[in-house]
Symmetry: C3
Subunit: 440 residues, 3 copies
């Protein structure tokens, strides 16, 4: 219907910041014509008025070349894009302020406060086919480059990425820290590769995603080391048999083959899902003479309205030189979430991960979540420790961009969980941590 | 085709220049009515013109969901905001380039140049009630996070802040470095808490402000320390019996109670109001076994047209463990400023601090200022040193965002002012320092 | 056609949001007058409409005051400017992702990947006459401030700069890394002063440029050193007898007189035109007791359609204290470039350097380049080494802002090229390095 056509046109034009008063002038033209017809205006008067407006048009045509039609938008951050979508630029960031209180058992963990993430992120599009992203985190007084890549979109839905980005491994790792259900990722995340510099391929179909890449080291790995860098090859596939608005079922699997740098050393360690302390109970220390490391991950997630379940299992096999047995480590987590106010976790089947939760009611959204996670870094001669942790999480989404989080964690460490000897083992502290978060 | 363009254009009138455009349309409506009444237009013509415009109104309603009406502004930096004020984003920064020449007396201070501040600052508003600010300074090659907080405005004029920001203590500390009368804050600033991570409450009334908060450590205080963090509780009230445009009288008082971290150590030191040298003549060295520290500050400022006076007194009481006497340190400063070109220092009664000076004449504004400051860090067994400094300052405000500053400082140190033994005491250098500053 | 005019006007208002609005009102006024004259409107009706509009005018004036008419543009980054050009703000950046493969000879160079540059850059204009620029690079995990200066344009074409920027020395140094023909600058660049904090003057005429300045140290040179900073005075002139679109001839000469800081030490070194390795074959080590250093540079470049030649010669004379002979080092490079797809290197006569290459065909531009560079740091008792390197470069400009680069380098080091003893001399590796680059 023609009216609805109008709406469509209008919206697009508006998004183009199209002419402010020219519209008025359009009506104005028609009025002048009418007034001319009914003799209220003389042809001369009419022409002079028309003429003046034409000059206008001429003048403005000169400008056409240099200034594309752009839309500007803000939802906290900034988004600028040309109407043809060929060019865009966005600037945003995230701010997370944490505090932690440790009911210490044996070791001193150190209550305190922290800026967990203070990040600025720029992203954009050039000539339709070339996208880029550059994120830098300033928490901790250095400048920590996060995503920093160029993406080619000319083969859409297939994409090619070059730069630093997350290797496609682990649902929880790939889900942005802005949208994590708990304040920190679960213990098995210690085995996920995370961000490295490399080249990656990705594609997607109805309900499935596939991504793979070859990666070197991240931008700040042993910069002084003159030996050849380590490298890895990683791939992940996901499938979502159900993927409706408030109902989704997700399965994923990932593999990674990794070769350490010339030192042939690796170290696996992790904090107790709390970042303010620097104690890393689980810590293998330097494992030497490593020829390569293989990782495997399995993912599943189920969303049913306000309820959701998510779990992962990650296994690592360390292949060592002649005369030494290989090592096997593994971990898993399982959690359930209930959005008390009726929202639903936002599963994104085209990305194979979770996204932003938007509160329904003005009072915001409330989420209650329970997680158990376990990681075992003990094997053979390596006593990295084993831990199981239970976390209760309560999230208050004040709005789509702001939330308050509270986590209560029960830590159960074995005797080897001694941070490679730096602290006493068998330490079972309780942790209460709070976060205020905003992203823009 | 061309018609639907008109509609589109019309809406964006509303979108961008709601005020003018709708007014314009209003006049247009009324003209059409008149022309209808006096028979110049037929009912049909009238309707068609009206009709077009009505579609418009409808459309622009439908539209608000799609694309909020945003205004874009630049005064060097960038300011984007939706017309309802619910969302906004701003990006700016400051750049200060210094050079210093030391007429050395005993010790080597090191003439040189410096980027004193190279800061980028993002701030914005989300959903009307949630504001944020994130500033990072890059001078000195690391990334130094400054203000980084989330603010809740829903209880306006009461506000709640969470994150890293300046504790409410000291008029000169709270006044932005962009607006300071002298290149560096006065000696007693060594006793002001400055920025820490915490939660704060603030409110204001006609002529008064009150702010208080509980704070931990700043984001880069001893990050490796596993002991519990130190903390502090701080409050400040201000009152301005006069608060007219060019005439103001300000009184302020602040208290802070501070508990050091588990090391129970504190150190108080300061440079001689000159930042290029690293010599901190006044330096208590590590004071150990400190149970807590109490601070008190008194402020007064008087603005009378181009003339102003400002002064503060700050006292610190250090409470030490059994068997050791407590310590008392204090300092004060007093300065006068004369805006030779007739401008007046911009006191902001609602914030209880000073703001931007805008030159009247195209030639810019000239300011002459004189300051005496004193700090005494000697007490009992602690010989941190005592100094008195006289500074003559000349500022040329090229425009509201750019200024040149020149300071001449006479330093008078006592025998204990030896940077905790690193340099010779009784050093009385003269300092000439220059700054070029721009903020955007 | 009226439709096309509307388009024109629509675009004009994209550029000057409020502009045509006021124009529209002007026509509206004149129409009212006509309608009054021909008796269509009564004086009363006329006045009421006029009155309303005047209020309006006032209102819209008020509006302009708070929100000037701004143009928003994006070509990847962001550009905002007021229509009078008095204020502007731009935000952009660059991202370069490298990988290097070393066919090692004697020493271990370390294959690997790297974020070569991850830079954000803000620039703008205030009150027509004051420009600023602030660029920070985050590659390498610290925040490396690049250009950070204030520029006064009130004496155009003469300009005054204060802050940190590149000393005017060397065509290749002054040409942005975004536009370099090869991945790294040639060996003699080790002798170019680069960026320092200082004050500079520049001017230009038809085909010539002249720039000079006095400089201290860069923002991160030995920050802890208490001795007086080093300083330098540098000047450069360029002349382009031919300066047509695809045809240019450039000559340049520069001098620099430099005094080291109180340590009286200098060190000259450079990597083998490859940044991923940290081996600096050519390295004089600490040269002590240096009273001053003099640099001289000669430049020439010739552009003839798709072909271009560029070369420089740089000489350094080190003046040492009594009883020690002075030292002389020098280097040169010469390269040729052929844009296979017919573009021409973009020489900018007003800046005396090269700029962006814009591909003609949608398939992008291809460039083949060959460079020989040489640097000799051996003299007298200083055995810094001598090297000659041949590089073949292939660049694919995917679009004006994105390119892929490949360099193959043959390194020929002498026996002294041992990184001041850290590696073996006479090492002649081959280097293959790749880059993906985007700037916005």
């Amino acid at each position: 219907m023609s009216a609805s056509k109008h709406w469509g046109m209008m919206i697009s034009t508006v998004v183009l910041f199209a002419a402010t008063a020219t519209a008025g002038e359009a009506e104005f033209y028609r009025l002048l014509e009418m007034l001319l017809q009914n003799g209220t205006l003389t042809q001369q008067q009419y022409d002079s008025l028309r003429g003046a407006l034409d000059d206008d048009g001429v003048a403005s045509e000169a400008l056409e070349a240099e200034a594309p039609r752009v839309a500007v938008d803000t939802a906290g951050g900034l988004e600028v894009s040309t109407d043809d979508g060929a060019f865009s630029f966005g600037l945003g960031g995230r701010l997370m302020i944490d505090s932690a209180f440790y009911r210490e058992d044996t070791n001193d963990l150190g209550d305190g406060t922290e800026l967990r993430r203070t990040r600025l992120e720029a992203e954009g599009m050039l000539f339709s086919d070339y996208a880029y992203e550059l994120g830098v985190d300033f928490a901790g007084s250095d400048a920590d480059v996060k995503d920093a890549f160029i993406e080619y979109l000319g083969l859409w839905p297939a994409t090619i990425r070059v730069g630093q980005f997350k290797e496609p491994f682990s649902l929880e790792e790939l889900t942005s820290s802005k949208y994590m259900t708990f304040m920190e990722r679960a213990l098995p995340n210690a085995l996920a590769p995370g961000r490295h510099i490399g080249i990656g391929l990705g594609s997607r179909g109805s309900g499935w995603t596939a991504a793979g890449g070859v990666f070197g080291e991240s931008f700040d790995d042993d910069v002084s080391d003159e030996g050849d860098e380590g490298w890895g090859i990683t791939g992940r596939v996901t499938y979502a048999p159900w993927r409706e608005d408030r109902r989704a079922l997700h399965f994923g699997a990932a593999l990674s083959h990794r070769v350490p740098d010339e030192t042939k050393e690796i170290e696996l360690d992790t904090r107790p899902e709390s970042h303010i302390t620097d104690v890393r109970y689980l810590n293998t220390g330097r494992i030497t003479d490593v020829s390569h490391l293989d990782l495997a991950g399995l993912e599943a997630a189920w969303v049913e309205g306000p309820f959701s379940l998510q779990g992962e299992y990650v296994a690592a096999a360390v292949d060592r030189g002649a005369g030494q047995s290989n090592l096997a480590f593994d971990g898993w987590y399982l959690y359930g979430s209930w959005l008390l106010t009726g929202e639903s976790r936002n599963y994104k089947p085209k990305a194979g991960k979770f996204g932003r939760i938007r509160p329904i009611a003005p009072g915001g959204a409330w989420e209650l979540a329970l997680r158990y996670s376990s990681l075992d870094l003990n094997d053979d001669d390596v006593a990295g420790g084993r831990a199981g942790q239970m976390t209760v999480g309560l999230n208050w989404y004040l709005n789509a961009h702001t939330r308050l989080m509270a986590n209560y964690i029960r830590v159960d460490n074995d005797a080897n969980a001694d941070d490679d000897g730096d602290v006493a083992g068998d330490d079972d502290p309780r942790i209460i941590q709070l976060r205020a978060q905003i992203d823009f």
